[in-house]
């Protein structure tokens, strides 16, 4: 076949090519299916935005604009009570630390009951796992509210909320780490005639400890993030200051507090990255 220009292709040529390569001209069924699924997504989006009354967004523009202006223009900065702000941030970090530490300690125990290779009794294993599902399935803020109801307003409820949700998360992740353990290393230690405590110390621990530390550090990071909002339901920390000042219409102060929190969280992420590198090297995840 020799040179052929695009402009010179006639309908006859197209028909002839189509006859020889019918599939190259698009499978009508597949094309329709694809178009239909995109149409479905589009229709759903339009419908759901209508359902959620997207029109309110347009009518609210004045109010939203006023809000943004007041967040950006900072007034009377001398009266912002910085001591309370930084105390709130410190309290948030402290809550996250105590909560994560307690969560870690309890998760260490629970994980061995939830892992297949360390808990052969299926009934217990499943019971523990379902309990962990409940701890994880309920959001930390919900736990916060529940504990506020149980023990009253303040950081105690916050610590308990972080404790219980971190315990659920970590115990699940730890138990997966235990299940993924390399049997050969354990066999190697056992072959030296070591007793059970030594098998755990030299066979299991070196494999799971770096993973555990890494997971707990991540958990601490994510808890500092989530602990900032526990205060919205009264469970202590900076969130209480945010919601108080928001309710009082002090939007500039809210913006300032949020910026500070973002900086503090970035610093914690950076610091925990350093610790992770120091203890477990780059391979730890």
């Amino acid at each position: 076949m020799s040179t052929l220009t695009y402009a010179a292709i006639s309908d006859v040529d197209i028909a002839a090519t189509r006859k020889r390569h019918p599939k190259a001209f698009g499978d009508p069924f597949a094309t329709t299916l694809k178009a239909a699924s995109w149409a479905f997504i589009a229709v759903y989006l339009v419908w759901s935005l209508g359902f959620f009354e997207i029109g309110k967004l347009l009518s609210a523009s004045d109010r939203a604009w006023a809000l943004i202006t007041r967040m950006v223009v900072w007034q009377d900065m001398a009266t912002w009570q910085y001591y309370n702000i930084y105390k709130g941030i410190a309290q948030t970090i402290a809550m996250a630390f105590v909560g994560t530490l307690l969560g870690t300690i309890f998760a260490l125990g629970l994980a061995f009951f939830a892992a297949r290779n360390t808990m052969p009794v299926g009934v217990i294993r499943h019971a523990v796992r379902r309990m962990l599902d409940v701890f994880r399935g309920i959001d930390q803020v919900v736990w916060g509210l529940v504990f506020v109801r149980a023990v009253g307003l303040g950081p105690l409820a916050g610590v308990l909320a972080i404790w219980i949700s971190d315990m659920g998360n970590l115990a699940k992740l730890y138990s997966e780490a235990i299940e993924n353990i390399d049997r050969k290393q354990v066999e190697g230690v056992r072959a030296t005639g070591a007793d059970t405590s030594r098998i755990i110390r030299f066979g299991y621990l070196p494999q799971i400890l770096p993973v555990f530390i890494s997971l707990s550090l991540y958990s601490f990071e994510s808890s500092t993030r989530s602990a900032t909002i526990l205060g919205l339901v009264g469970a202590g920390g900076i969130g209480m200051i945010i919601i108080e000042r928001f309710r009082a219409g002090l939007f500039d102060q809210v913006a300032f507090v949020v910026l500070n929190v973002l900086v503090v969280i970035a610093v914690i992420d950076w610091g925990s990255g350093l610790i992770r590198k120091r203890f477990i090297g780059e391979r730890g995840h």
Partner: protein, 274 residues
């Protein structure tokens, strides 16, 4: 006619291409040779402006290529197709879509974003693939093909651009001798039949000698040879390749399988009748 007037490329402190001035008439098949790092690739990629020249000028039919911007630049790239050493196809798309992507310049925004191609484009792409003996794999996912097949798909993509100039940056460096021959035969056929200007970077000397009308030799960013294959004596070649001369020559000895095909269009190694 493609005119180079002192075209230069400088990366930080190193000069990759020193002011180059020469002219390539329409329909010529030009081979650029030289050892690795001599600036061949940079020179070629400046022609379609994948690398921006640092100085000088380049004219095509009297139009200043170096000054093009935006849509005019993309129009020039569409007129001046390129084939790469690593094929640069989209592995996850099928062969046909890769070939049809050669016509993207002619698409409006919506049709290119939605991936809609007309029946005429499909027919044209199939014809181009057929010319390279690749129509039978039109619906295969591209990354399942072999290197030689991919390069032929890449040439088909270049063909559907209906270019005036074809650039080939080391088109056979990643291929075995048999596929290298198929690809070079195809480029030569395009040059002869369609009258396209073909500018080709080659690292083996005898491929350039056998396929090209004209050979340009580069050394450290400078054009040190410009003439016909017969003018390129062994001594001149040794000068171009310098320390790598033995390698280039020994390759010339072993790749004797590479002779221009007797019949001009490329003969595919295994063609499924369809």
């Amino acid at each position: 006619m493609l005119e180079f007037k002192g075209l230069t490329k400088q990366f930080n402190s190193t000069i990759a291409v020193k002011p180059a001035t020469f002219t390539i008439p329409d329909g010529q098949m030009v081979g650029i040779i030289g050892r690795s790092g001599a600036g061949k690739s940079t020179l070629l990629r400046m022609i379609n402006r994948l690398n921006e020249p640092s100085g000088g000028q380049m004219l095509f039919q009297g139009r200043d290529i170096t000054a093009l911007k935006g849509r005019a630049l993309r129009e020039w790239r569409n007129e001046c197709a390129m084939v790469f050493q690593q094929f640069n196809l989209v592995g996850r798309l099928n062969v046909l879509t890769n070939v049809m992507s050669g016509r993207l310049f002619h698409h409006d925004f919506a049709s290119s974003m939605l991936g809609i191609f007309t029946a005429r484009e499909r027919a044209f792409a199939i014809r181009a693939l057929d010319r390279l003996g690749m129509a039978h794999v039109a619906l295969q996912q591209t990354d399942t093909l072999s290197g030689g097949q991919m390069q032929r798909v890449a040439i088909a993509r270049a063909l559907v651009q209906e270019p005036r100039v074809m650039l080939a940056d080391e088109p056979i460096a990643s291929l075995d001798p048999l596929n290298a021959k198929v690809v070079m035969d195809a480029l030569r056929a395009i040059n002869r039949q369609d009258g396209l200007t073909v500018i080709c970077n080659l690292h083996t000397l005898d491929t350039a000698r056998q396929y090209c009308d004209r050979i340009i030799g580069m050394q450290d960013g400078v054009i040190v040879f410009d003439g016909t294959p017969t003018e390129l004596t062994d001594r001149a070649a040794r000068e171009i390749y310098g320390a790598e001369a033995e390698e280039a020559f020994s390759e010339a000895m072993t790749s004797t399988a590479l002779r221009p095909g007797a019949s001009a269009p490329a003969q595919p190694e295994a063609r499924v009748v369809n």
